[in-house]
C-alpha cells in the first residue's frame, strides 16, 4: 500500500500534467473543501500558519493514518498544547484511498501551481519558517527534508516532491505496522472521473468505392494542405467579428389597473361564537336580511357600512345591507314614502316585535307604578330628596310611630272592556304568584249575557295578559295546580270550560262541558281543582275538578272522549228543621228536593273532606267517599251562605259568611259556631283568611272591606275600608306572599290594597286562636248550660 503512490509516480508526469491540472481542477469538486482550504491556507494564512506544508504533510500523513489507524499526527506548540489542525474534510476511510492519495498529490501540485500563479514570491517563505518553527512534530526530520525538497524541486511538481516525505513516512509507518498490515485487508477502489466533452463532431465516413470518392479525397487533401500551410499563409488573415446590436425600439404598453376595493370587517369574539355555534340562526337572519335589502332605503349615515359590519346581527348581513345606498339622508327619509315598506317591515318584525313591545310596555308601566309595585313587593321606598341617613332614619321613625293598622290603596286592575262588569271571582295562579285570573259577570245594566275572563299580570295593571269572552257570565274560576296553564271557568248557564294558555296571547278552550248530558243547568257557583290521592276504587288519581252548582249537585269532572263528564259526588238534599220550629209548616219545596249549593271548600290537608254551604244557610261537611250522607251539618245561618273557607294555618277551623250579615267561626268538631262576627247590616259577600296570619281574615260587605284581627279585637274589625262611591265590593282575595288584599267590585275593577302595621304574625298566633276558640266554646257551652 505504501508503495502504491510510488508506482503511480512515474506515470503521473508528462502528458498527464495538463490533464492532471484539468482533472484536478475538475475533481476538485470532490475534494473541493480540500482544495479550497488548501488555497485559502496558502493565500491567507501564511504568516500565521507555521506549518502549512506540515499540515499538508500531516494531511498525507493523516491519509496514511487512515490506512494505518495507529499513526496519529499530533501537533503541539510551545506550551505543549495540542493544536492539531483538524481536517476540514474528513475523508471516508473506505473511500477510494489510493485515488485520494493520488489526487491529493495532484492537489498539492495543482495547489502549488495555483500558488505559483498567485503568490509565488511568498511561497517559499513559510517553508523556511515552518522549518524553523518552534513547534515540534513527531516526524520533524522528515518534514524538514520535505520542505527542503519542495524548495528544491518546486517547479517540477513531480511526485517525488511529496513522495519523499510520504516515502519516509511510509517507511516509518511501515516499520510500525508491518505486522498489522498483513492482517488487514484494505480495498482500493480506482475509478475514473466523468469526462466532459466540449466539442464532439463525429466524423463522416464514406465508402472508398463511392462515386464521388475522388472529389472528397481531393477536398480532404486540400484541407490537409491548408492546415499545414495555415500558419504562415497570407491568404488567411485573422479578423475579428462582432455582431451588431440591432436598433432598439421602445414600445410602451399599458394595462388597465386592477380595481381595488377596500374591504374590512371587525371581528369580535362573539361574532366568532355566533358563527360557530348558531349557524342555523345565521342563515335565518341572513335570509331575512335579504328581504330587507330589497328596499331602496337610504342609509342615515354614510359611514354606516363600517358600522354595519360591527353592528347587531351576523356578519353575513354586511353583504346584503351594503346594497343600500350610502347617501346621507336627513329626516326627509321619513316623508319619502316608506309607508308601504314600513307595513311590510312591520309584518316581518311582528313576531319578535311583539315580545319587544311587551317588555317595553312593562318597563314603562313599571316606571309608572314603581312606588306601588315596590310597596306590593314590600320593598323600601327611598325618597329622592333623602340622601343623608339621619333624615332617613327620622323618616322611618315617623312611619313607625303611627302604629295603627292602615289600608293603603295601591292600584287597580281595570281596562276598558272590564268596566261595567261585576267581578265575580278571582283566583291566583298556582305557580306564578303574579298571575291573577278574574272572572267578570255580564255588563251591569244590559241584558248581554256574555262574560269575560281576564288574566292579569302584576307587571301590567292597565291591560290584561289575555282575555277571553265567554258565552255567559262567569261565576267562578280556578287554576289547576298540576297544569298551571289550565283555568277552569264556571258560568251562569252551567257550562264549565277549561281554558289553556298556549302561548303569549293564545288562549284556547280545551274542554267544555256543554256537551255533557250531566252538566249543570244552573249557575256553577264554585269550582275547585283538588288533588285526590285515593278514590273509591283505591287508584291514585291526579287532580280533578269539583263543582257545586245551583241545582244542588256536587260533581266531580273528568275528561272523557267528548269533553268533560261528571259524576255526582253529593246531592244536597233539603233537611227539615222540624225540631226547632214549633208546629211550623213544612218548608220543603215541591219543585226540587235539592237545595242550591253556593260554596265549596276542601280541607287543606285532607282532600277528601269538604265543606259545602247551601242556600238555606246550612253547612255540610261531606266526604268524597260517602255519596249519601253528610258527615256533619252546621246550622247557624238562616240566609244563603256565600262563602266558606277553611283556615290554612289552624287545622279544623273554618269561617263562613252569609247574607244574614254575620260571619261565623267554626271548629269542625262543634255543631255550633265558636264565634260570630257582625259589624254592619249588610250582606257579607265574601270572606277569606289571611295566608300569613292565623288570626287575620278579611270580609267584604257590599259597601266596605273589613279586616278582622282576632288577636286584637273580636268585636270589631281592625280595618275598615269603604268602597268607592257607587261601587259595591263583590269579592275578596288575599295575596299569598305579600300582605295585600285584592277586592273586586261591581265596576270591573280589582283593587289592590296593602295592609300595613297589622302587628299580627307568627305561628304563636295559632295557639292564640285556638285559645280563643277554646275560651269561646267554653263560654258558649256555659251559655248553653245556663240556658
Amino acid at each position: 500500500m505504501a508503495t502504491s503512490p510510488h508506482n503511480k509516480a512515474p506515470r503521473m508526469p508528462g502528458e498527464e500534467r495538463p490533464s492532471s491540472r484539468t482533472t484536478t481542477i475538475s475533481v476538485s469538486g470532490i475534494h473541493g473543501a480540500h482544495q479550497s482550504t488548501r488555497d485559502t491556507n496558502s493565500i491567507i494564512g501564511f504568516p500565521s500558519r507555521k506549518h502549512f506544508r506540515v499540515g499538508g504533510g500531516s494531511k498525507v500523513l493523516e491519509k496514511s493514518a487512515l490506512q494505518t489507524p495507529r499513526q496519529v499526527v499530533r501537533v503541539f506548540d510551545e506550551e505543549d498544547n495540542d493544536v492539531t489542525p483538524q481536517p476540514l474534510y474528513q475523508a471516508h476511510p473506505a473511500a477510494p484511498h489510493a485515488k485520494s492519495c493520488r489526487l491529493f498529490l495532484d492537489e498539492i501540485s495543482a495547489g502549488s501551481a495555483s500558488d505559483q500563479t498567485t503568490a509565488t514570491g511568498s511561497f517559499t517563505m513559510p517553508f523556511s519558517r515552518s522549518m524553523f518553527g518552534s513547534s515540534r512534530i513527531s516526524s520533524q526530520s522528515t518534514i524538514e527534508s520535505l520542505n527542503e525538497e519542495i524548495e528544491d524541486t518546486f517547479s517540477k511538481w513531480e511526485m517525488p516532491i511529496s513522495f519523499p516525505d510520504v516515502q519516509g513516512k511510509r517507511n516509518t509507518v511501515k516499520e510500525h505496522v508491518a505486522k498489522d498490515m498483513l492482517k488487514e485487508v484494505t480495498d482500493v477502489y480506482i475509478s475514473e472521473a466523468d469526462s466532459i466533452s466540449l466539442l464532439d463532431i463525429p466524423s463522416t465516413l464514406m465508402s472508398v468505392e463511392a462515386d464521388d470518392t475522388e472529389v472528397i479525397m481531393e477536398k480532404n487533401n486540400q484541407y490537409a494542405e491548408l492546415c499545414r500551410t495555415r500558419m504562415g499563409n497570407n491568404k488567411y488573415v485573422d479578423r475579428a467579428v462582432q455582431t451588431l446590436n440591432g436598433a432598439a425600439k421602445n414600445k410602451q404598453v399599458q394595462s388597465d389597473s386592477n380595481v381595488m376595493v377596500d374591504s374590512a370587517t371587525t371581528v369580535t369574539s362573539w361574532d366568532i361564537y355566533d358563527a360557530l355555534i348558531r349557524p342555523e340562526q345565521h342563515e335565518e337572519v341572513s335570509s331575512r336580511e335579504q328581504e330587507g335589502a330589497e328596499y331602496p332605503g337610504a342609509a342615515v349615515d354614510p359611514n354606516s357600512g363600517a358600522e354595519r359590519s360591527a353592528s347587531v346581527g351576523s356578519t353575513a348581513s354586511t353583504a346584503s345591507t351594503a346594497s343600500a345606498a350610502s347617501s346621507l339622508n336627513d329626516g326627509e327619509a321619513l316623508g319619502s314614502s316608506l309607508n308601504t315598506e314600513s307595513d311590510l317591515q312591520l309584518n316581518v318584525l311582528s313576531e319578535t316585535f311583539q315580545h319587544c313591545l311587551l317588555v317595553m310596555e312593562r318597563s314603562i308601566l313599571r316606571n309608572t307604578f314603581q312606588p306601588e309595585l315596590a310597596a306590593y313587593r314590600q320593598l323600601p321606598v327611598i325618597e329622592e330628596s333623602q340622601v343623608k341617613p339621619g333624615t332617613v332614619e327620622k323618616r322611618q321613625e315617623d312611619t313607625e310611630s303611627p302604629r295603627s293598622p292602615a289600608v293603603e290603596r295601591l292600584w287597580a286592575f281595570s281596562y276598558e272592556r272590564s268596566r261595567g262588569r261585576s267581578v265575580s271571582s278571582m283566583a291566583w295562579n298556582k305557580i306564578n304568584p303574579d298571575f291573577l285570573a278574574v272572572g267578570y259577570g255580564e255588563l251591569g245594566s244590559s241584558e248581554q249575557k256574555a262574560g269575560l275572563v281576564c288574566c292579569w299580570c302584576l307587571t301590567n295593571p292597565t291591560w290584561p295578559e289575555w282575555d277571553v269572552q265567554c258565552d255567559s257570565a262567569v261565576t267562578s274560576l280556578d287554576f289547576s295546580s298540576i297544569n298551571p296553564s289550565q283555568l277552569a271557568v264556571g258560568m251562569r248557564d252551567g257550562t264549565i270550560a277549561v281554558y289553556k294558555v298556549n302561548s303569549q296571547h293564545n288562549v284556547s278552550c280545551v274542554l267544555s262541558s256543554s256537551q255533557c248530558p250531566n252538566r249543570h243547568l244552573n249557575p256553577v257557583w264554585q269550582l275547585r281543582w283538588t288533588q285526590q290521592e285515593l278514590n273509591l276504587t283505591g287508584d291514585e288519581m291526579g287532580e280533578s275538578l269539583f263543582s257545586v252548582a245551583a241545582d244542588g249537585r256536587i260533581s266531580r269532572w273528568f275528561i272523557c272522549s267528548s269533553g268533560l263528564d261528571c259524576t255526582d259526588l253529593m246531592k244536597l238534599k233539603k233537611i227539615q228543621h222540624t225540631k226547632k220550629k214549633a208546629g211550623g209548616t213544612r218548608t220543603e219545596s215541591v219543585l226540587s228536593a235539592l237545595t242550591p249549593g253556593l260554596c265549596l271548600d276542601f280541607h287543606p290537608t285532607d282532600s277528601s273532606v269538604y265543606l259545602v254551604g247551601t242556600w238555606e244557610g246550612l253547612i255540610h261537611k261531606c266526604s268524597c267517599s260517602n255519596n249519601e250522607q253528610f258527615l256533619e251539618t252546621y246550622r247557624k245561618h238562616f240566609c244563603p251562605v256565600n262563602s266558606i273557607k277553611w283556615s290554612p294555618l289552624s287545622p279544623g277551623v273554618f269561617l263562613s259568611c252569609s247574607s244574614d250579615w254575620t260571619i261565623q267561626l267554626w271548629q269542625q268538631d262543634h255543631q255550633n259556631p265558636v264565634m260570630g262576627f257582625s259589624s254592619t247590616q249588610t250582606a257579607v259577600c265574601a270572606v277569606d283568611w289571611s295566608p300569613k296570619w292565623p288570626t287575620v281574615f278579611g270580609a267584604v260587605h257590599e259597601g266596605q272591606l273589613e279586616i278582622w284581627d282576632l288577636s286584637s279585637s273580636i268585636l270589631d274589625p281592625v280595618l275598615v275600608q269603604p268602597a268607592a262611591a257607587g261601587v259595591q265590593m263583590k269579592s275578596l282575595l288575599f295575596a299569598t306572599q305579600t300582605d295585600c288584599v285584592l277586592v273586586g267590585d261591581s265596576d270591573g275593577q280589582v283593587t289592590v290594597y296593602q295592609l300595613k302595621n297589622l302587628r299580627a304574625g307568627g305561628s304563636s298566633q295559632v295557639d292564640l286562636l285556638e285559645g280563643l276558640i277554646c275560651s269561646a266554646s267554653q263560654n258558649s257551652f256555659k251559655k248553653h248550660t245556663q240556658m
Binding site: T268, S269, W270, I272, Y273, V285, R288, G292, G297, A298, A299, V300, D301, S304, E307, A310, V312, G313, S317, T321, N329, D330, G331, E332, A333, L334, G335, L338, E341, S342, Q345, L346, N347, V348, L349, S350, T352, F353, Q354, C356, L357, L358, V359, M360, E361, S363, I364, L365, N367, T368, F369, Q370, P371, A374, V381, I382, E383, E384, T462, W463
Partner: protein, 107 residues
C-alpha cells in the same frame, strides 16, 4: 295568524304611545331608519342615530364579556326623563317616558 299578530302589535304599540307618561315612541329598523315615530322628524333622527350607536356599543360590551350573553333592554334614567330602548336583531324600539312623580325610587 300573521294578521292577528300584526293587529296585536299595532294594538300594543298604540297603547304604549297613548300612555300618558310617554313623551315619544320611535321604531327604528335594522338600517337605522325610523319607521314609526310620534316625535318630529329632526328629533327622531337624532334619537335614532345616537341610540343606535349606544345600543351597539352596549351590545358589544355585553357580548365581549360573555359571548353567550346578549342585551335585552337598555334603560337610561336622566334628570328629565327616562329613555327606554328595547333592541332586537332587526330593529330598535325607543320610548321616552317622563318621570311619574317626584319620588324616584330605585328598585
Amino acid at each position: 295568524m300573521a294578521g292577528t299578530e300584526h293587529d296585536q302589535v299595532e294594538e300594543t304599540l298604540k297603547r304604549i304611545e297613548a300612555n300618558k307618561y310617554v313623551i315619544g315612541t320611535i321604531v327604528v329598523n335594522a338600517e337605522g331608519i325610523p319607521i314609526r315615530t310620534t316625535l318630529d322628524n329632526s328629533t327622531t333622527v337624532v334619537y335614532a342615530q345616537l341610540l343606535r350607536h349606544l345600543t351597539m356599543k352596549a351590545r358589544n360590551t355585553v357580548r365581549d364579556l360573555d359571548p353567550q350573553n346578549d342585551i335585552c333592554f337598555l334603560r337610561m334614567q336622566t334628570k328629565k326623563h327616562n329613555i327606554l330602548v328595547a333592541p332586537e336583531n332587526n330593529f330598535l324600539l325607543i320610548v321616552i317616558q317622563k318621570h311619574v312623580n317626584s319620588l324616584r325610587t330605585f328598585p
